[in-house]
Amino acid sequence: MASNYLSNSALKAINRIGDMMIPRNGEFPSFSEVGGIAYIDDLVSYAPPADIKDLNLLLTILAFMPNFVLRWLLNRMENSMESSGPLAPIFRMLDVGLRGLIFSCYYTEKIPASYTGKKPLDIIGFDLTRVED
């Protein structure tokens, strides 16, 4: 898997964080098992170049964090809505940004053919009908 916009370290970070946010659990496959990250360029390519640069930098830093630090950070982000102080807005933006990437690559119709399990959208029962003519 490669991206025209994100480095290999950044992609690894997304898979690591994705598996922490969405681990394998019952009928839910883990984030990395599904492999929706293969289509991440479809999402990132529309972002301004400066934002992509910042995202690469952030994800590369996260990629080298030990698991326990990363888990602490994710927990801090997840509980940031009620937090105050100068860092709280940064944690909130990180939270929405990372969850946005992860959920967009997971609850998606775009899944590689190599994944043969039940798709997350099927598991939650989402079956949108689009009548086109």
Binding site: M20, M21, I22, P23, N25, G26, F28, D42, L43, V44, S45, Y46, A47, D51, L74, E78, M81, E82, A88, P89, I90, R92, M93, D95, V96, R99, G100, F103, S104, C105, Y107, T108, E109, K110, P120, L121, I123, I124, G125, F126, L128, T129, R130, V131, E132, D133
Partner: protein, 463 residues
């Protein structure tokens, strides 16, 4: 040299471009987004966020507690909204008059412009047999509790409900051209007839030269320049205000950027034992229409969210998140939309980026909390096992920043839609809203655009 350059193609710009084009004016329309149509609109939720919105999906206030959804596509907001078209009531107009000093802010004065817009679009008021289960539970519970509700009116022509079409798909642009966006309702046919429109063109600076106006823009990252006798700014609250701010108009217009409001929306989900499938069919057909709630400053909307958005709203990950998402089809949803105070301010930083200060005032919080409490009652009354109140608020109705008024010290645009002191620079989009009306803003944006169109065509003797 164009007679008019119209910047933006949403409910305002689309209407004005259509009217001036039909009147034979020499016009150019500029739009920062791409031209898409029913064949090319995104087909997935993730692609919708990435392709149709500024900021790759969401922009934040400086405190990152509120997210704003702002579109970048021909048709603007009208491509992605539910096209719910309501006239304002006397409460909204009286508050506008009081704040702005503009005496034509009345239903009577705007009636003919509302009429013109409504006549041009296909409108549909929902009926009982079009409600999905989410709406049925909402209305049943409202009836028991004593909350008045009503059917919504939507701009749509043929949603193919009898063939099972799900309207949630049109949140990424209507794949049937049924939704009466400014593209489907006005611009599609005009473009086919030769309307001069340049897309992917973002105006970066406005230079006023007296009788003409020069626009500097980036067109797919390349600098371009345009000149016109008149310009109409229709980029919405953020777009129009940003263009004026970065062009240096703040010096003459101290109110520029101020009085921003957004009707913050807070969604609560109810978990039921039965299958609801709230995303199916027409997913938004009813809302509260209760004079008491109107007086209190909030309304309840019976809505739902597609999976990625729903996952975002719950704010949690891991097993807790999966447990919620496993119950996606057994959820109902109601949101409280707050009629917020116009205490926000739109700014541009030294790198040219928008920054939005949007304090959530004590009155805003009180309205949100009252609304949430009422929603919890409605959901549990009808049998919800659990209620999840999302901590996030989303601003979809971006209003103010270049407000209309009689006093140039407190407003940006005069009662004839001119930027104070500039006879050939007009604004008629949601940025001129003096304060939050508490009612879906789209129809009134179009009615105001119609009023400006009539004014411009009349001043030029039919052009």
């Amino acid at each position: 040299m164009y007679d008019y350059i119209i910047i933006g193609t949403g409910p305002s710009g689309g209407n004005i471009a259509h009217n001036l084009f039909k009147a034979g004016a020499n016009i150019l329309v500029l739009e920062a987004g791409k031209l898409m149509n029913k064949k090319t609109f995104p087909r997935t939720e993730a692609d919708t966020s990435a392709r149709l919105y500024w900021g790759g999906g969401i922009e934040f206030d400086t405190d990152a507690k509120m997210g704003f959804l702002r579109t970048r596509v021909v048709g603007g907001t009208s491509i992605v909204n539910q096209c719910l078209l309501d006239r304002f009531d006397d409460i909204a107009f009286n508050d506008w008059k009081a704040e702005s000093g503009v005496n034509w802010f009345t239903n009577e004065q705007l009636a003919k412009h509302y009429d013109t817009v409504e006549h041009a679009l296909a409108l549909h008021t929902f009926t009982a047999n079009e409600m999905n289960r989410n709406a049925q539970l909402f209305t049943q519970s409202c009836d028991k509790i004593g909350v008045k509700w009503g059917y919504l009116r939507k701009g749509q022509s043929d949603c193919a409900q009898e063939r099972g079409n799900d309207c949630m798909a049109c949140l990424g642009g209507c794949h049937r051209d049924s939704k009466q966006s400014s593209y489907a309702g006005y611009l599609r046919d005009d473009i086919a007839a030769g309307l001069n429109i340049q897309t992917e063109t973002e105006v970066t600076q406005i230079v006023h030269n007296g009788n003409t106006v020069t626009l500097h823009a980036l067109q797919q990252s390349k600098p371009v320049t345009f000149q016109a006798k008149n310009i109409v700014l229709a980029g919405g609250a953020f777009g129009t205000t940003k263009m004026l701010l970065q062009s240096g108009f703040k010096k003459q217009l101290p109110a520029l950027g101020k009085n921003f409001s957004t009707h913050p929306q807070f969604m609560s989900f109810g978990l039921f034992n039965e299958e609801i499938h709230a995303y199916k069919g027409y997913f938004q057909t009813v809302a509260s229409k209760d004079p008491n709630l109107r007086q209190k400053g909030y309304k309840l909307e019976n809505v739902f969210a597609p999976p990625i958005s729903a996952a975002m709203l719950f704010s949690r990950t891991g097993a807790y998140h999966q447990e919620i998402m496993r119950n996606y089809t057994r959820m109902t949803c109601i949101e409280v939309a707050v009629r917020d105070e116009n205490a926000g301010e739109i700014k541009v930083d030294n790198k040219g980026k928008l920054t939005i200060d949007k304090p959530f005032t004590a009155q805003d919080r009180r309205r949100r909390d009252e609304g949430r409490e009422l929603i919890a009652n409605i959901l549990t009354n009808e049998g919800a096992k659990k209620v999840y109140a999302s901590p996030f608020s989303v601003g979809l109705h971006l209003m103010g920043g270049s407000v209309m008024g009689t006093d140039s010290a407190k407003s940006v645009v005069d009662p004839e839609f001119r930027v104070h002191g500039y006879k050939n620079m007009f604004v008629a989009d949601s940025s001129i809203y003096p304060n939050a009306p508490g009612i879906n803003p789209s129809l009134t944006i179009m009615a105001l655009a119609q009023k400006l169109s009539d004014q411009l065509i009349g001043a030029n003797h039919g052009i």
